[in-house]
């Protein structure tokens, strides 16, 4: 069916391109998330290793570069996914009622995707502002984690790992190739692993903060 607005807005590729932006930005964010996880886990090797890595990133301006990268990719991802979030109250009511009605796990996980995405956005803005303002070193991090920010970081860790895992699952489901059941198993295992790495890292920072 074609009507005026559709005829005027005719760029047949636009839906495909937005879909592509959503996927590519999402994948980049996952790569970032896991790299971030490994870099922060440098604290496992000790305060010296962590500070050396932080210093290296500072020296080559990798920190501001990362912030710019993140802002761009975040904006692209949000811009692309926002079209999928049921916006109107009417639509919201329908999707929640529908998920309850058909009792389908993958439908629920999609609703959580929107909720966790919004929460991650709020938390990540705070996190990036704090880190950009204060800089990175083990002393500051351990102080933050010990003095009140532990719940904040634990929430950010769980939310982002969940969101990344479900997002990756959807990408593979949509494009095919891998069996859904094996996909769930592998991604589940990766999520448990990354959350465990993050939790141990937080634990180390907390104990360092307690010693200080």
């Amino acid at each position: 069916m074609v009507y005026l607005q559709k005829a005027l807005a005719r760029n047949p590729r636009v839906d495909f391109l937005v879909e592509l932006v959503q996927m590519v930005s999402g994948l980049l964010l996952v790569v970032f998330l896991w790299t971030h996880m490994l870099f922060v886990a440098a604290i496992w090797l000790g305060v010296g290793a962590f500070n050396a890595l932080a210093h290296f990133m500072d020296q080559y301006r990798l920190l501001p570069a990362t912030v710019v990268f993140l802002v761009l990719v975040f904006c692209a991802h949000i811009g692309a996914v926002i079209r999928r979030v049921p916006r109107q109250w009417q639509e919201q009511k329908i999707v929640w009622r529908h998920a309850k009605l058909i009792r389908h796990a993958d439908t629920w996980s999609w609703l959580f995707q929107a909720v966790t995405g919004a929460a991650i956005l709020a938390l990540a803005i705070v996190h990036m502002a704090v880190v950009s303002y204060a800089g990175i070193n083990a002393g500051l991090s351990s102080m933050r984690v010990h003095d009140g920010f532990l719940a904040f970081y634990a929430a950010l860790l769980l939310l982002s790992e969940y969101h990344a895992s479900v997002g990756l699952y959807r990408v593979f489901v949509k494009w095919g190739w891998v069996r859904r059941s094996s996909l769930k198993r592998v991604l589940g295992a990766i999520s448990v692993l990354t959350v465990a790495i993050g939790a141990i890292t937080l634990g180390i920072f907390y104990s360092l903060g307690a010693q200080a």
């Binding site: 047949p12 879909e19 049921p86 009605l101 009792r103 489901v173 494009w175 859904r180």
Partner: protein, 250 residues
Amino acid sequence: MARELTFRIFRFNPDQPDVKPRLQDYRLTEEPGMTLFVVLNKLREEQDPSLRFDFVCRAAICGSCGMLVNGRPTLACKTLTKDLPAVTTLMPLPVFKLLGDLSVDTGVWFREMSLRTEAWIHTDQVFDPNAEEERMDNAVALQIYEAERCIECGCCIGGCATANIKPEFIGAAGVNRVARFMLDPRDKRSDAEYFEVVGTEEGVFGCVGLMACDDNCPVGIPLRDQLAYVRRKMAAAGWKLRRRAPAARA
């Protein structure tokens, strides 16, 4: 010992909008080999002649009896009561026009989808009634048959969150239909022409991958594979469109 089963059935008559939609309980004794087809007909015959539901073939061929059985979109005729708990809720399929109680009109939706996906062989070859029928490779024929098995029951559409909020979305049934014609060597449509039909938010790129269709197809069509096949094909077509864009615009 035969179980006493309770069926909590959605009641609503659109011709009597003053009477609010409600769930009504019916009770009956389970029998060996009982299906929901038997249950509903027994209830209508013995307890409530006003109960509305659809059945034709009672053998999972006609696709008339799609409904939500404890929330799950499936065919009532294929559902055995021995697989159900003591209390079962029956609701009509969402998305489709509600005719009353469990009865919905899937026909209008599927006709509209067939028109929008142009679900017929596009060819400029003139039909010669005297010529021998063209032969088709068996492997291709089997692939086409896989998609053709769709009985248009609408379970994939009723279960789809996107179809529930976007009436224009053609859903898994629509994409599966397009896949069938893409595979058919007699259909002369180019990928760019298919892109016009399904390369949009109303087509395959509107799918968010919730896979309620794949999980609930009563005849077991691999809908996820069909969706992914069309998506990959349309992505390739969309990618190539770029180079020809200036010419196409002229």
